[in-house]
Symmetry: C2
Subunit: 141 residues, 2 copies
Protein backbone atom coordinates (compact mmCIF):
# COMPACT_ATOMS: atom_id res chain seq x y z
CA UNK A 1 0.00 0.00 0.00
CA UNK A 2 3.07 2.22 0.05
CA UNK A 3 2.20 3.75 -3.29
CA UNK A 4 -1.48 4.37 -2.49
CA UNK A 5 -2.60 8.00 -2.46
CA UNK A 6 -6.16 8.98 -1.60
CA UNK A 7 -7.76 10.91 -4.45
CA UNK A 8 -7.68 14.66 -3.66
CA UNK A 9 -11.44 15.05 -4.07
CA UNK A 10 -12.16 12.27 -1.55
CA UNK A 11 -9.54 13.80 0.72
CA UNK A 12 -11.25 17.19 0.45
CA UNK A 13 -14.86 15.99 0.86
CA UNK A 14 -14.31 13.40 3.60
CA UNK A 15 -12.75 12.69 6.97
CA UNK A 16 -10.55 9.61 7.27
CA UNK A 17 -11.82 7.58 10.25
CA UNK A 18 -9.42 4.65 10.06
CA UNK A 19 -8.55 1.68 7.94
CA UNK A 20 -9.50 -1.93 7.49
CA UNK A 21 -6.81 -4.31 6.23
CA UNK A 22 -7.68 -3.31 2.66
CA UNK A 23 -9.76 -0.15 2.68
CA UNK A 24 -9.67 3.29 4.19
CA UNK A 25 -12.90 4.20 5.95
CA UNK A 26 -14.06 7.73 5.20
CA UNK A 27 -16.95 9.80 6.51
CA UNK A 28 -18.41 12.13 3.90
CA UNK A 29 -18.78 15.60 5.38
CA UNK A 30 -22.53 15.80 4.83
CA UNK A 31 -24.60 15.79 7.99
CA UNK A 32 -27.84 14.96 6.13
CA UNK A 33 -26.98 11.26 5.94
CA UNK A 34 -24.61 8.89 7.80
CA UNK A 35 -22.51 8.37 4.67
CA UNK A 36 -19.34 6.28 4.74
CA UNK A 37 -16.99 5.38 1.92
CA UNK A 38 -14.61 2.43 1.62
CA UNK A 39 -11.54 3.06 -0.52
CA UNK A 40 -9.42 -0.04 -1.23
CA UNK A 41 -5.80 1.03 -0.87
CA UNK A 42 -4.75 -0.14 -4.29
CA UNK A 43 -3.40 2.46 -6.64
CA UNK A 44 -4.87 2.79 -10.14
CA UNK A 45 -7.94 0.56 -9.65
CA UNK A 46 -11.29 1.88 -10.85
CA UNK A 47 -13.61 -1.15 -10.86
CA UNK A 48 -14.32 -3.79 -8.20
CA UNK A 49 -13.73 -6.62 -10.68
CA UNK A 50 -10.26 -5.24 -11.45
CA UNK A 51 -9.17 -6.05 -7.89
CA UNK A 52 -7.56 -9.45 -7.33
CA UNK A 53 -9.94 -12.19 -6.21
CA UNK A 54 -8.52 -12.02 -2.69
CA UNK A 55 -8.98 -8.26 -2.55
CA UNK A 56 -12.56 -8.57 -3.80
CA UNK A 57 -13.30 -11.00 -0.98
CA UNK A 58 -11.68 -8.70 1.55
CA UNK A 59 -13.67 -5.72 0.26
CA UNK A 60 -16.84 -7.79 0.68
CA UNK A 61 -15.86 -8.63 4.27
CA UNK A 62 -15.16 -4.99 5.05
CA UNK A 63 -18.39 -3.88 3.40
CA UNK A 64 -20.36 -6.39 5.45
CA UNK A 65 -18.64 -5.34 8.68
CA UNK A 66 -19.41 -1.70 7.90
CA UNK A 67 -23.02 -2.46 6.96
CA UNK A 68 -23.58 -4.37 10.19
CA UNK A 69 -22.01 -1.57 12.22
CA UNK A 70 -24.15 1.04 10.45
CA UNK A 71 -27.28 -1.00 11.06
CA UNK A 72 -26.55 -1.23 14.77
CA UNK A 73 -25.35 2.35 15.14
CA UNK A 74 -28.06 4.15 13.16
CA UNK A 75 -31.04 1.75 12.67
CA UNK A 76 -31.60 2.97 9.10
CA UNK A 77 -34.66 2.09 7.03
CA UNK A 78 -32.35 1.02 4.18
CA UNK A 79 -28.69 0.92 3.28
CA UNK A 80 -27.57 2.18 -0.12
CA UNK A 81 -24.31 0.60 -1.25
CA UNK A 82 -22.80 1.72 -4.53
CA UNK A 83 -19.63 1.85 -6.59
CA UNK A 84 -20.21 4.61 -9.14
CA UNK A 85 -17.00 6.58 -9.74
CA UNK A 86 -18.11 8.49 -12.81
CA UNK A 87 -16.39 11.60 -11.50
CA UNK A 88 -13.68 10.41 -9.09
CA UNK A 89 -11.66 7.74 -10.91
CA UNK A 90 -10.40 5.96 -7.78
CA UNK A 91 -12.42 2.90 -6.73
CA UNK A 92 -14.59 3.84 -3.75
CA UNK A 93 -17.74 2.24 -2.41
CA UNK A 94 -20.47 4.38 -0.89
CA UNK A 95 -22.35 3.08 2.17
CA UNK A 96 -25.23 5.37 3.06
CA UNK A 97 -27.75 4.94 5.87
CA UNK A 98 -31.10 6.03 4.48
CA UNK A 99 -34.22 7.03 6.36
CA UNK A 100 -37.78 7.52 5.19
CA UNK A 101 -37.47 10.92 6.83
CA UNK A 102 -34.26 11.98 5.04
CA UNK A 103 -34.33 14.86 2.53
CA UNK A 104 -33.82 12.74 -0.60
CA UNK A 105 -35.94 9.67 0.24
CA UNK A 106 -36.77 7.56 -1.74
CA UNK A 107 -34.48 8.99 -4.45
CA UNK A 108 -30.75 8.26 -4.44
CA UNK A 109 -28.68 10.85 -2.58
CA UNK A 110 -26.24 11.83 -5.31
CA UNK A 111 -26.74 15.27 -6.78
CA UNK A 112 -29.31 16.30 -4.15
CA UNK A 113 -28.61 19.89 -3.13
CA UNK A 114 -25.23 20.89 -1.68
CA UNK A 115 -23.77 18.94 1.22
CA UNK A 116 -24.34 20.29 4.71
CA UNK A 117 -21.03 19.96 6.56
CA UNK A 118 -21.10 18.59 10.09
CA UNK A 119 -20.74 20.76 13.15
CA UNK A 120 -17.72 19.41 15.02
CA UNK A 121 -19.76 17.91 17.81
CA UNK A 122 -22.19 15.98 15.62
CA UNK A 123 -19.32 14.72 13.48
CA UNK A 124 -17.61 13.42 16.60
CA UNK A 125 -20.85 11.76 17.66
CA UNK A 126 -21.31 9.95 14.33
CA UNK A 127 -17.66 8.95 14.26
CA UNK A 128 -17.82 7.57 17.77
CA UNK A 129 -20.97 5.60 16.99
CA UNK A 130 -19.49 3.82 14.00
CA UNK A 131 -16.00 3.34 15.38
CA UNK A 132 -17.30 1.84 18.61
CA UNK A 133 -19.29 -0.69 16.57
CA UNK A 134 -16.29 -1.50 14.39
CA UNK A 135 -13.99 -1.90 17.35
CA UNK A 136 -15.63 -5.20 18.15
CA UNK A 137 -12.86 -7.81 17.99
CA UNK A 138 -14.77 -9.74 15.33
CA UNK A 139 -13.96 -7.01 12.81
CA UNK A 140 -10.37 -6.34 11.82
CA UNK A 141 -10.75 -2.58 12.17
CA UNK B 1 -35.38 -21.37 -4.13
CA UNK B 2 -38.83 -22.87 -4.42
CA UNK B 3 -40.41 -20.06 -2.44
CA UNK B 4 -38.68 -17.25 -4.34
CA UNK B 5 -40.97 -14.89 -6.25
CA UNK B 6 -39.58 -12.03 -8.32
CA UNK B 7 -40.96 -8.69 -7.11
CA UNK B 8 -43.79 -7.56 -9.43
CA UNK B 9 -42.15 -4.22 -10.19
CA UNK B 10 -38.91 -5.90 -11.30
CA UNK B 11 -40.99 -8.35 -13.29
CA UNK B 12 -42.81 -5.49 -14.99
CA UNK B 13 -39.78 -3.29 -15.71
CA UNK B 14 -37.33 -5.99 -16.79
CA UNK B 15 -36.79 -9.03 -18.99
CA UNK B 16 -35.46 -12.19 -17.33
CA UNK B 17 -32.39 -13.32 -19.31
CA UNK B 18 -31.44 -16.37 -17.26
CA UNK B 19 -30.07 -17.33 -13.90
CA UNK B 20 -26.79 -17.86 -12.17
CA UNK B 21 -26.67 -20.43 -9.35
CA UNK B 22 -27.88 -17.74 -6.91
CA UNK B 23 -29.26 -14.80 -8.88
CA UNK B 24 -31.68 -14.12 -11.66
CA UNK B 25 -30.19 -11.95 -14.39
CA UNK B 26 -32.54 -9.23 -15.59
CA UNK B 27 -32.28 -6.67 -18.37
CA UNK B 28 -33.99 -3.39 -17.51
CA UNK B 29 -36.17 -2.32 -20.40
CA UNK B 30 -34.41 1.00 -20.97
CA UNK B 31 -32.47 1.24 -24.21
CA UNK B 32 -30.51 4.29 -23.06
CA UNK B 33 -28.08 2.17 -21.05
CA UNK B 34 -27.01 -1.50 -20.99
CA UNK B 35 -28.54 -2.00 -17.54
CA UNK B 36 -28.61 -5.42 -15.88
CA UNK B 37 -29.89 -6.42 -12.46
CA UNK B 38 -28.92 -9.39 -10.30
CA UNK B 39 -31.64 -10.64 -7.97
CA UNK B 40 -30.50 -13.29 -5.46
CA UNK B 41 -33.25 -15.91 -5.34
CA UNK B 42 -33.75 -15.69 -1.60
CA UNK B 43 -37.15 -14.66 -0.39
CA UNK B 44 -37.47 -11.80 2.08
CA UNK B 45 -33.90 -10.49 1.89
CA UNK B 46 -33.42 -6.75 1.52
CA UNK B 47 -29.73 -6.14 2.28
CA UNK B 48 -26.56 -7.82 0.97
CA UNK B 49 -25.26 -8.35 4.51
CA UNK B 50 -28.45 -10.21 5.43
CA UNK B 51 -27.51 -13.00 3.00
CA UNK B 52 -25.55 -15.93 4.44
CA UNK B 53 -21.78 -15.66 4.08
CA UNK B 54 -21.81 -18.28 1.32
CA UNK B 55 -24.53 -16.41 -0.58
CA UNK B 56 -22.63 -13.14 -0.25
CA UNK B 57 -19.57 -14.81 -1.79
CA UNK B 58 -21.67 -16.27 -4.58
CA UNK B 59 -23.27 -12.90 -5.29
CA UNK B 60 -19.77 -11.39 -5.53
CA UNK B 61 -18.74 -14.11 -8.00
CA UNK B 62 -21.84 -13.51 -10.10
CA UNK B 63 -21.36 -9.75 -9.99
CA UNK B 64 -17.76 -10.12 -11.14
CA UNK B 65 -18.74 -12.49 -13.95
CA UNK B 66 -21.41 -10.05 -15.08
CA UNK B 67 -19.06 -7.06 -14.84
CA UNK B 68 -16.42 -8.83 -16.92
CA UNK B 69 -19.01 -9.83 -19.51
CA UNK B 70 -20.35 -6.27 -19.68
CA UNK B 71 -16.85 -4.88 -20.08
CA UNK B 72 -16.14 -7.20 -22.99
CA UNK B 73 -19.56 -6.85 -24.60
CA UNK B 74 -20.00 -3.07 -24.36
CA UNK B 75 -16.58 -1.48 -23.63
CA UNK B 76 -18.13 1.06 -21.24
CA UNK B 77 -16.27 4.04 -19.84
CA UNK B 78 -17.40 3.04 -16.34
CA UNK B 79 -19.55 0.48 -14.58
CA UNK B 80 -22.01 1.61 -11.94
CA UNK B 81 -22.83 -1.14 -9.44
CA UNK B 82 -25.37 -0.43 -6.74
CA UNK B 83 -27.73 -1.98 -4.23
CA UNK B 84 -30.25 0.74 -3.40
CA UNK B 85 -33.73 -0.75 -2.96
CA UNK B 86 -35.43 2.28 -1.43
CA UNK B 87 -38.52 1.61 -3.51
CA UNK B 88 -38.46 -2.12 -4.39
CA UNK B 89 -37.90 -4.00 -1.13
CA UNK B 90 -36.39 -7.14 -2.72
CA UNK B 91 -32.58 -7.24 -2.78
CA UNK B 92 -31.39 -6.44 -6.30
CA UNK B 93 -28.04 -5.17 -7.53
CA UNK B 94 -27.87 -2.80 -10.47
CA UNK B 95 -25.03 -3.20 -13.00
CA UNK B 96 -25.05 -0.36 -15.51
CA UNK B 97 -22.62 0.24 -18.35
CA UNK B 98 -21.98 3.98 -18.47
CA UNK B 99 -20.59 6.02 -21.33
CA UNK B 100 -19.32 9.58 -21.42
CA UNK B 101 -21.79 10.01 -24.27
CA UNK B 102 -24.85 8.68 -22.39
CA UNK B 103 -27.74 11.01 -21.54
CA UNK B 104 -27.12 11.14 -17.78
CA UNK B 105 -23.30 11.20 -17.65
CA UNK B 106 -21.66 11.86 -15.22
CA UNK B 107 -24.73 11.83 -12.96
CA UNK B 108 -26.20 8.54 -11.70
CA UNK B 109 -28.93 7.14 -13.94
CA UNK B 110 -31.74 6.81 -11.41
CA UNK B 111 -34.56 9.28 -11.79
CA UNK B 112 -33.32 10.58 -15.16
CA UNK B 113 -36.32 11.04 -17.45
CA UNK B 114 -38.61 8.12 -18.29
CA UNK B 115 -37.12 4.86 -19.57
CA UNK B 116 -37.02 4.34 -23.33
CA UNK B 117 -38.13 0.76 -23.94
CA UNK B 118 -36.12 -1.33 -26.39
CA UNK B 119 -37.26 -2.09 -29.89
CA UNK B 120 -37.37 -5.88 -30.15
CA UNK B 121 -34.34 -6.10 -32.40
CA UNK B 122 -32.05 -3.98 -30.26
CA UNK B 123 -33.14 -5.84 -27.15
CA UNK B 124 -32.26 -9.12 -28.82
CA UNK B 125 -28.88 -7.69 -29.81
CA UNK B 126 -28.04 -6.58 -26.25
CA UNK B 127 -29.25 -9.88 -24.83
CA UNK B 128 -27.18 -11.86 -27.28
CA UNK B 129 -24.08 -9.81 -26.54
CA UNK B 130 -24.23 -10.41 -22.79
CA UNK B 131 -25.43 -14.01 -22.90
CA UNK B 132 -22.69 -15.01 -25.34
CA UNK B 133 -20.10 -13.57 -22.96
CA UNK B 134 -21.66 -15.32 -19.98
CA UNK B 135 -21.86 -18.64 -21.77
CA UNK B 136 -18.13 -19.00 -21.43
CA UNK B 137 -17.57 -22.20 -19.44
CA UNK B 138 -15.65 -20.27 -16.77
CA UNK B 139 -18.90 -18.69 -15.61
CA UNK B 140 -21.65 -20.83 -14.15
CA UNK B 141 -24.37 -19.14 -16.19
Amino acid sequence: MADFILHPQLDRDCHVLGSFPLSLLLLLDDSRYPWFILVPQRQGIREIHHLSGADQQQLLRESTALALAMETAFSPDKLNIAALGNIVPQLHVHHIARFISDPAWPAPVWGELPAEPYALESRQRVTEKIVSQLSDPSTAF
